[in-house]
Structure formats: C-alpha cells, structure tokens
C-alpha cells in the first residue's frame, strides 16, 4: 500500500462551546475522488478547511501525503508550525470555494499567474504561458483579459479552478463548487472537474450534486452532526443506505 493522500484520525474541532467535528476518521488514496455529502451545518466545510489548516484541529491526527498538517512531531511531542511552514504545506493543496473568491482587481490571467509569480517566484513569461494553458484547459482561452466582474459565475469558478491548479497541487479540495451557480452553469464546472478526475487528480468534493457523486466519485461519505455516519462506494450508499439518518437525508435531496 502506498501512503494515503489524506489520513484523518479522530479529528475534533470546536468553535467556542459548540463541537463541530466530533471524531472524524477517513482515508483518501492517491487518485481517489472522495465526495462528501450531508445536511447544512454538519461540519463538511469545517473538515475540508482543516485539511489545509484554514482551521486548526483541537485533537486527532491529520496527515496529507504522510505529513502532519500544521504540526511537527519531534521527541514524542507536537510542535506548532510557523506561518511560513504552513504556507509551504498549502502550496500542494488546491482549494476551490463556494463563492469563488477570485481577486477582483486582477484579470483572469493575473489571478492564475499570481501564486506562481509570488509564491514560487516563477519567471513572468513561464507563469504566463502556464496560466494560458490552464485557462485554455478550463475552456476560457477567450476570456483571459477579463476581470472577474465581467465573467459569469460558471466562468469565475472555472478561473478559480485554474488558479488552484497553477501551483500543481497533489490534492484538490472543493467546497460546494456549484452551489452558488445558476442551474444551467453547473454543468460546465462539473465537466472541468470530471476532466481533472480523469487525469488522476486526488479530489475531495463537498457537494449536493448526487449525480456527479454517483458518476465520478470513487467513494462517498455522509456526514451529520460532526460525525461520519456512513461511507462507501457512491452507488452503494446512494441506492442502499444502511443508516436511518442517511435514508432520511437522501429522501429529502434525491
């Protein structure tokens, strides 16, 4: 067995007095597309944000590619990482947000070039060439000089995916990437994600698109109240849920 891409053991996370994650365990293998579903407030976003340390976990162990996230283990003790070390870890983990979060003062091209230029200190010409290729790959070759405000939601989200890919991440996190889109724009974003999955990208996708989960997902996790209630092959979980809570949730969304 190779090292898992993501390994979460007993993750707990609380905000003040509310416990949002109450012991989450899961493993994602390299090349796997893991879909996460569950009711609003069940902790899906929080779990995703823990994986790239946008939130720090309160207990448990979280490893990406075999390395602890946000901590170093030395002498049997955990040491918090400095900000620069955390930044370094995040380069290998791409994230796509529900509300795109593109940089509004930069064009599509500049959005994609930003991280390679600033973080990896690539040469401008090389960064530009790579950004053009990435935008072409997500079908936006003719929109490179547009500012985000001049793009549709679907186009913005595709720029956001290209921007995340520009750092050549080994893992991509998607937090409801199509939830803020008009129904007719969902397809174009899912198509890009389908392409990524085909190319072997490891992906964790929080989504309400059960069709996508069934078709593209290698595994499916159902979360409720900060715990993983049920996990398995998407077809299996969606067609024959074993747990009552899963059944109740699916009967509402399917």
């Amino acid at each position: 067995m190779s090292t898992p891409m993501v390994e979460a053991i007993g993750i707990h996370k609380r905000f003040g007095s509310t416990e949002v994650l109450r012991g989450v365990d899961f493993v994602v293998q390299p090349g796997e597309v893991a879909c996460v579903v569950g009711p609003s407030g069940s902790g899906k976003s929080t779990m995703l944000r823990c994986i790239n340390h946008l939130e720090r976990i309160d207990s448990g162990r979280l490893r990406v590619d075999g390395h602890l996230i946000g901590y170093r283990e030395a002498g049997g003790k955990l040491h918090e990482m400095r900000e620069s070390e955390i930044a370094k870890q995040r380069r290998d983990i791409g994230m796509v947000f529900q509300r795109f979060n593109l940089f509004p003062h930069k064009t599509a091209l500049e959005n994609v070039m930003e991280a390679p230029l600033v973080v990896r200190r690539s040469a401008r010409a090389a960064a530009r060439k790579q950004a053009e290729e990435l935008l072409d790959r997500v079908g936006l070759a003719d929109r490179m000089t547009n500012y985000p405000a001049q793009l549709s939601g679907g186009q913005q989200q595709r720029v956001a995916i290209a921007r995340a890919l520009a750092m050549s991440p080994r893992l991509m996190l998607f937090d409801e990437p199509t939830s803020a889109l008009d129904p007719e724009l969902v397809g174009e974003v899912l198509d890009v994600m389908r392409g990524l999955a085909r190319d072997g990208m490891t992906m964790i996708v929080v989504t309400h698109e059960m069709g996508f989960a069934r078709e593209v997902g290698d595994s499916l996790v159902f979360m409720d109240e900060g715990r993983i209630v049920e996990a398995g092959a998407p077809r299996e979980v969606l067609s024959n849920p074993r747990e009552e809570r899963t059944k109740a949730f699916l009967s509402k969304v399917l």
Partner: protein, 301 residues
C-alpha cells in the same frame, strides 16, 4: 390582444425613438444660479475694496511664493510620513500579536487625543527635556550623540508634529480599508500558499485602496491648511507669509484673496490627482469616482 400603435414596427431594430423625461426644475435652478453668479461677479469686479491690483502684485511675489513652497513641502512630507506610518500602525493594530496591537492602539490614543498645537510645541521644545540625544546600547555606552537643537530644527519639528499626528488618523483610515476587504480574499490567498505579508501587499491593500483613497484625499487637503499651525513654533508658510505682509501694509482682504487663490489652486490639483489614483485602483470594479454631471472635466471612459 390588440397591438397598440407603437407596437407596429418594433422588430425593425431601429433605435428607440422615445421622448426623454423633461426636467423643468433644473432649468429653473440654472436661471436662479445664473442671476446669482452674475450679481457676484459684478460686485467682485466693481467693489474697489477688493483691490485687484494689489492681489496681482502679490500673487507671485517672492515672500508669497516662499510661503507657498513651504506649505507644499510640509504637506507632501507630512503626508508621506502620515501614510507610511498609518499603514504600519494599521497593520500592527490588526496583527494577531497582542503587543504590537496594543502599542499601535496606545500610539493612536495619544496622538489623536492631544492637540496638534501641543504636539508641535513639544517637538520644538524637546531640547528643554533632553538637551542631547544619543545612539547607543540602552543603559550602556553611547556611540554617537547630538545636540537636540541641531538635530531637530524648526523644520524637522514641524514635520514630526504634523507627520506623526497624521499617522494616527491615517492608521484608522487604513484599518477601515483593510477590514472592508472580504475575508474570503485572505483565505483564497492563504490557500494558494501566500504568506501574510504577501497577501497584505498583493491582495488586501490594493483592494483596500478604494476605501482608503477618498478619506486620504480629504486628509491631504486638510493638511494643506493645517500646516498654517506651524506659526506657533515660529516657522512660516503661505498663510503666515501673507499675514506678515498685511500686518505691515494693512491690505488684509487682497492678501487673504492671494492665499485663498493658491489654496484653491492646490486643492484643485489634488482633486484631479485623486481622480487618477481612484481609477487606477478601481480596476475590475465598475463603480469609479462619481463625476459631476455638469462639469465633466474627466475624460469619459
């Protein structure tokens, strides 16, 4: 359904031929303003007490231009100190480090909470408090020491007073700007592996500028006139210069007109400059600075 007469040829793709909304109120306003303006120009030109010939004599006279150059110098350097210091203080104020944040809060509290005149006097009379200033190891040997009066001359005291005071106000303006930027921007930059400093410089500050620039324009224009306070420590600028002249020749009104004309000219230049800077940082956002609709001196985009 019966088509009305205007529905007949709508598919011809001709430009709409509609009667624009009429604004009779505007025309009444224009007429009233025109009469008032004519009355004003008439009295200004015919009332001999304005002494336009005196205004003409002094407008470009050496003492006035000297004062003007001091006003400009003090304004520009104080604003540079204020803006750089303000950004620094704002970043400290928002830092997760409680010590930095408290130091910035204390600074802002002291410098906004005491009168500017008192601060100017303080810097000027620093030598009474510390006759010598030295660089060295705390409580240890000194490498080099200066006579305070030589190190902080009147001009330096003016800049310290105006600049350090301005920094406190600018800090709050910059902080407001930084906090107006959506938190998702910081998260997106962080998720790409950018450091806090990179995120601030490349992502947050450029967006905060849209909020920071208009009040900074205000501060600069206000600084232009605040510089006249340096008279309390015996320095001079535009207003002091004209006061010195009219205290001798008693041509008070004409000389105040000279000063006012220069202040207005500088303010106009600053407003135009502000428009350019606002457009530069408004990229990607539709709403630019609102232009007056009658006086459209900005090139249409």
């Amino acid at each position: 359904m019966t088509a009305s007469s205007t529905d007949r040829d709508v598919r011809s793709s001709e430009p709409l031929d509609a009667v624009p909304v009429r604004h009779p109120g505007r025309w009444v306003a224009v007429a009233v303003l025109a009469v008032l303006a004519a009355m004003f120009v008439h009295t200004v030109l015919t009332n001999d007490n304005f002494r336009w010939n005196v205004v003409g004599t002094y407008l470009f006279s050496a003492p006035v231009l000297n004062g003007l150059s001091n006003t400009l110098l003090l304004t520009v350097i104080s604003m540079v100190i204020g803006i750089v210091g303000g950004i620094l203080l704002a970043v400290m104020r928002l830092s997760p480090n409680p010590i930095l944040s408290s130091v910035a809060a204390l600074y802002i509290w002291v410098f906004r909470g005491t009168p500017l005149i008192a601060q100017l006097l303080f810097w000027n009379f620093l030598s009474a408090l510390y006759p010598r200033l030295a660089l060295g190891i705390p409580f240890g040997p000194e490498f080099i020491s200066f006579d305070t009066n030589l190190l902080i001359n009147q001009f330096a005291a003016c800049l310290l007073g105006l600049g350090l005071n301005e920094a406190a106000y600018m800090a709050e303006i910059v902080r407001g700007g930084i906090q107006s930027v959506d938190h998702g921007q910081t998260e997106a930059a962080g998720a790409l592996g950018m450091s806090r400093a990179q995120t601030l410089r490349r992502i947050v500050l450029p967006q905060a500028m849209r909020v920071i620039i208009p009040p900074t324009g205000n501060e600069t224009i206000s600084m232009l006139k605040t510089t006249s306070l340096v008279v309390v420590i015996g320095y001079f600028e535009l207003l002091t210069s004209v006061q010195r002249i009219y205290s001798v020749n008693f041509q008070t009104i004409p000389l105040l007109i000279v000063a006012a004309a220069w202040y207005l000219a500088l303010t106009s230049v600053l407003s135009v400059g502000q428009g350019f800077v606002e457009r530069r940082f408004g990229r990607g956002v539709q709403s630019g600075p609102p232009g007056p609709t009658l006086l459209r001196w900005r090139p249409a985009t």
